[in-house]
Amino acid sequence: MKLALIFVIGVGMFVAMQRAAAQGSMTVQTSVQAGSAFSIQTSGSGEATLYVIGLGQVLKRSVQLGNPVYFEAGSLCDAGHYLVVLEQSSTVETKPLDVMAVSAPGRLSFLAKPSRLPVSVHEGITGAAYVFDSYGNLIVSPMSVSFQLSNSAGSVQKSDVTTHAGAAWIEMDSTGHQGIDQFVAQAGGISSTRVIRQVPGDPCALKMSAQQTGPKLELKTEPVVDCSGNPALDGTIVTFTETYDGGQSTADVPLKHGIAEVAMPAHHGATITVASGVVLGNQIREQ
């Protein structure tokens, strides 16, 4: 009787061990780097199906339990949280897998504002850099980004900023000289350049002269400059107004080579004024 009982228990244990061996399981790394090759080790015997499920991507492999499953480089490129599922005929096992961005920068998105501003504006220029790996994943681990603003006159402003949650930003001053500035952000050997145009401010001390030539009055401004001495850009409109008995003549004239000039009819005793935008210049009275 005892022998029979021992036999039954032994057979039961053997069957249970056989079933456990056939059920199988898997060993998954907690994280892998985006784009890199990796493997998942399985145990047990028999056949199963393995799924790697993420946002917008699912990988499916038929596996022979007991063998490792290999994923070649480039199988998983998008960083994020994935779920690994091992499905057999009667059981399902799930484990998490995190795909991490590559630590080396592959691309830099650089937003610089504004593209154009007057000279001498304190903290008038802002730059924000977002660091991505070569697969376009935002690198959220802290990283040093170097910002440099340089102009044609040789002035350079430079600053290093550590990224926070993948982004680094800075504010810089526009210099006193007009021109095209190069605004460069650099991280891990990757750089991105933006062009910031520093333009003259409002005209300062607008001054004109008049010379009579026959029935016409030749009006001409001195070179128009802003209060920092930068020449006003060509195309800036200068308005000449001639007021005389019962009438008025006006002309909107664009600056060319920094000077605005126009010929207007000469009227005895006329008063001539010059203005650009909201800035008034000198006044001439014709004798």
């Binding site: 998105s109 650089f110 937003l111 610089a112 504002k113 504004p114 593209s115 154009r116 977002y130 991105s192 933006r194 333009v199 003259p200 005209p203 850009l233 060509d234 195309g235 800036t236 409109i237 200068v238 019962g246 009438g247 008025q248 003549s249 006006t250 002309a251 909107d252 004239v253 664009p254 060319k256 080579h257 126009v262 010929a263 207007m264 009819p265 650009s276 935008g277 909201v278």
Partner: protein, 375 residues
């Protein structure tokens, strides 16, 4: 069944009868539009002669119009047509005569003067062309002595122009989101003034391009009640100069028909600007600007194109101020003739009679458009 057939017969018979009557005894207007002459009457009076000429111009019957003129030996038919429709492409070239008015000024047995106002229908509305016409008696009928405006002839010359223009390269659709675009121009409303008029609320103002680049501009206004609900939203449409060069100022006028200023609690102004390819030329001088008092209050002056390029369409905008420099009104007018280089073209923009007394000073700007023709 019989009654239906009878009704059909009556309708067919009536239709045939009306067609016959209309063909044999047509009304004069139908004849005129069909190319006939029945609208024309005998030129037995100065007014009738002028009226006949107006009808012929309206029908673009240039041959008959030309042959009816008393002074036709002084110019060709082609010159007459160009005098009426314009020597160069302009608003007038693409217009038709909507209607005309004749007002007798003086008459004797042998000659008479009439004021001949031709209202041309153009894409920007009706534009009047008023000429004083001399009419002379020739036997038993009268003929119009057409006041020919000779084609301006410029001496052959070279007008050097330092051509300055701006071109814009915007970001493309395939660019990365981080690739920055060029910023739009900075514009600022420097003056704004709502006015109650009989036709509704009018919002007047001035807009300045503060930037160093040319701007395409527009202004939109929204009237709000006390509870912040919107009464209406309108834009300046063409009562503004849409292209502003750097530091240039344009007036604008926005109309809210049937709105009442007493209802308005606040006004939200939205200036719009965008970069646009533009040229700094041509320079238009506005000469002899004058404010003429009521009656017949008007802003008058002459446009002189200082460049070598023909300006096909010119839009004159006048900003009117009171003694304190406050904005009173904005007037505008299209010039229906092309502006030739160095050739003055007059303009006369009516000012509302009730506002004329308040107006003390003005500022006039011109917006121009060229088809690209060069002399």
């Amino acid at each position: 069944m019989k009654r239906g057939a009878l009704l059909a017969f009556v309708l067919i018979a009536a239709t045939v009868a009306f067609i016959v009557i209309g063909t044999v005894w047509p009304i004069s207007t139908a004849v005129a539009f069909a190319g006939g002459e029945r609208l024309l009457e005998s030129s037995s009076t100065p007014e009738a002669a002028a009226r006949n000429l107006g009808q012929e111009i309206r029908l673009k019957d240039w041959g008959k119009a030309y042959s009816s003129l008393a002074n036709r030996s002084k110019f060709t038919e082609q010159e007459f047509v160009e005098d009426v429709t314009g020597y160069y492409p302009s608003l007038r070239t693409y217009s038709s005569l909507d209607h005309f008015e004749i007002r007798p000024l003086h008459a004797s047995d042998s000659d008479a003067d009439v004021e001949f106002t031709l209202d041309w229908s153009t894409v920007v509305g009706t534009l009047p062309d008023t000429r004083t016409v001399h009419v002379v008696r020739n036997g038993d009928h009268w003929e119009v002595d057409w006041p020919m405006q000779k084609k301006p002839v410029l001496p052959p010359q070279v007008i050097p122009v330092e051509y300055l223009r701006w071109d814009v390269i915007n970001r493309g659709p395939g660019d990365d989101w981080g690739v920055q675009d060029v910023d739009g121009p900075n514009v600022r409303i420097v003056d704004m003034h709502p006015v109650q008029r009989a036709e509704g609320v009018v919002v007047l103002g001035e807009l300045l391009n503060e930037d160093v680049l040319p701007a395409y501009v527009s202004v939109t206004a929204t009237l709000h009640r006390k509870d912040q609900s919107a009464i209406g939203t309108e834009s300046a449409f063409d009562r503004i100069s849409h292209l502003l060069l750097p530091k240039q100022v344009t007036p604008f006028l926005i109309q809210f028909p049937n709105a009442s200023l007493s209802e308005v609690s606040s006004i939200r102004m939205e200036p719009f600007s965008t970069l646009v390819s533009a040229s700094a030329d041509p320079v238009i001088e506005i000469d002899n600007e004058q404010l003429n008092p009521a009656p017949d209050a008007a802003l008058t002056g002459q446009l002189i194109n200082q460049s070598g390029q023909v300006v096909n369409v010119a839009h004159v905008l006048g900003t009117l101020y009171d003694k304190s420099g406050n904005l009173v009104w904005v007037v505008d007018q299209y010039v229906d003739r092309a502006l030739l280089p160095q050739t003055p073209v007059s303009f006369k923009i009516p000012i509302p009679e009730d506002l004329a007394k308040k107006v003390s000073s003005q500022r006039t700007v011109v917006a121009t458009y060229s088809f690209g023709g060069f002399l």
